[in-house]
């Protein structure tokens, strides 16, 4: 059981084009059965925030290769276990997607 989680999600480096040009989104993730993790968050973002071309942002379980993810201003890979890139990780806080042209970014922070 996960309580509602307040998260600030930011897109940049070109990723914002897929979200109507809006860079910062303050969202509240609703209550749900499983704890919130990155995979769930991505699914939620795809359903609720993504405006167009999902294949340019999400690929399978994770973000498309080339998109950098920051969690609380730190590299996502710092939290990744050895089992792979797509992972169930308890969401610490705000997620920020960081990227640059050609490498769009997306990050999240706790709100």
């Amino acid at each position: 059981m996960a309580a509602p989680l307040s998260v600030e999600v930011e897109f940049g480096g070109g990723a914002e084009l897929l979200f109507d040009g809006v860079k910062k989104h303050q969202v509240t993730l609703p209550k749900q059965e499983e704890p919130w993790d990155i995979r769930n968050l991505l699914v939620w973002i795809k359903k609720n925030l993504l405006k167009e071309r999902p294949e340019l942002f999400i690929q399978g379980d994770s973000v498309r290769p080339g998109i950098l993810v920051l969690i609380n201003d730190a590299d996502w890979e710092l939290l990744v276990s050895t089992s792979g890139t797509s992972l169930p990780q308890p969401l610490p806080c705000l997620l920020q997607a960081v990227g640059c042209a050609g490498k769009p970014w997306f990050s999240a922070h706790q709100g």
């Binding site: 084009l17 710092l78 042209a101």
Partner: protein, 487 residues
Amino acid sequence: MCQVGEDYGEPATEEPPPAPRPGREQKCVKCKEGRPVVVIRAGDAFCRDCFKAFYVHKFRAMLGKNRLIFPGEKVLLAWSGGPSSSSMVWQVLEGLSQDSAKRLRFVPGVIYIDEGAACGQSAEDRAKTLAEVQLVLQTFGLPWHLVTLEEVFGLPPAVLCCSIPEPAGAEGAYKAAVDSFLRQQHVLRAQDGSSPPQAQGQPCQPHIQKPLGPLSPAGSPAAAQTEALSRLFHSVKTLTAKEELLQTLRTHLILHVARAHDYSKVMTGESCTRLAVKLMTNLALGRGAFLAWDTGFSDERHGDVVVVRPMRDHTLKEVAFYNRLFAVPSVFTPAIDTKAPEKASIHRLMEAFLLQLQTQFPSTVSTVYRTSEKLAKAPRDSRAAGPRCLLCKCMLDVDDADSATAFGAQTASHLSPMQPPTALAEAGTPPAPCCVPGLCRAQGCCGGTCGRESPRVCVIEQLCYGCRVNMKDLSPGPAGGPGVPDP
């Protein structure tokens, strides 16, 4: 073999040896104290300060190792607004403000090219972007040149002529230049007492360069030229050729500005990742012979102006993190291939391929980069000044009389069925990409025989294989050509 997602039935054997599992208490691998913020390469976690030191060191080492930029030289920084070039400009700015021992000693200027017309941006979007760009340019505080891609129509044919490259300096030339520069500084300082050394020479006042071509009084390009440029790009059939055309026009424009203002070097901000993609893409485009120039640190094919790539050791991830952590200003502008599907062009396909491979095999990009470092530029014959490709200025090292090669076959097929003379040919203006009017005449290529062959064939004969392949995707266009306005 290297395909991501392929199932061999034994996935365990494919995984790289497990790195120690990063826990919450992980420390920076360098200083062992700080909280890590970014993972570089495979598994090296750096804290913020160590990352900054690492990043800056790479930049300075790249410049210092190659010893190509002499003290006091004027260097033009090609800034696209994107992260890599913004980072490069930022590094130069920081380098200029160091204490004198480590200070960068060249004189920079910045150029920004507004490519909105080629990318199909509306006038309002372009104006908005330009406003942001000007803000950032003022932040930089360097002399800047703001040009629009439409000015390419105003370039003289001389821009395609290759000036004789200066003979490479003797071994000790660089050291001697640095020594004499330092001695000058000592003398100046002794004379002036406490005033700062006149190393930079020119005041750091930004100014707008006088426009090269015909511009409307408001300073924005004439609508006819914008129209012409967008028609030109629309007439290109494939995205691949569009990207190559854009690259060519951009390069020539930058070089022209550099020559007009006495810049002897141009710095472009291509990162490691971009160059790896470029290397593979160029192989697919038929430019394998010129990889060393297209992806190396220095590119001397234009003779008097040398293109230098100081960011070639930085991956896009490092650039992105640096820009984010240290608030480097940049302006995002949609490019010609933004939001294009994966298979839209060879460039996109290669980028998707490499980035995908990189997720599973983190040394992919660096391996390709190391390969590009090993490419040598030895000319085929010793110093034979052979003909050069008209558009990309690379040495035509193929014997086009030999029809057994792909190059030769292309030549033969263009010569036999003569292109029907269009009204365009009669006008004497070359069609399609040659937005340089009077090209044939300027080059003097056909002597008097141009009358019987179309100018397009004349031009194609002077191109390298890669450029010829691109030309195939450029349609001749209606009479009057795709927008070559009367000069």
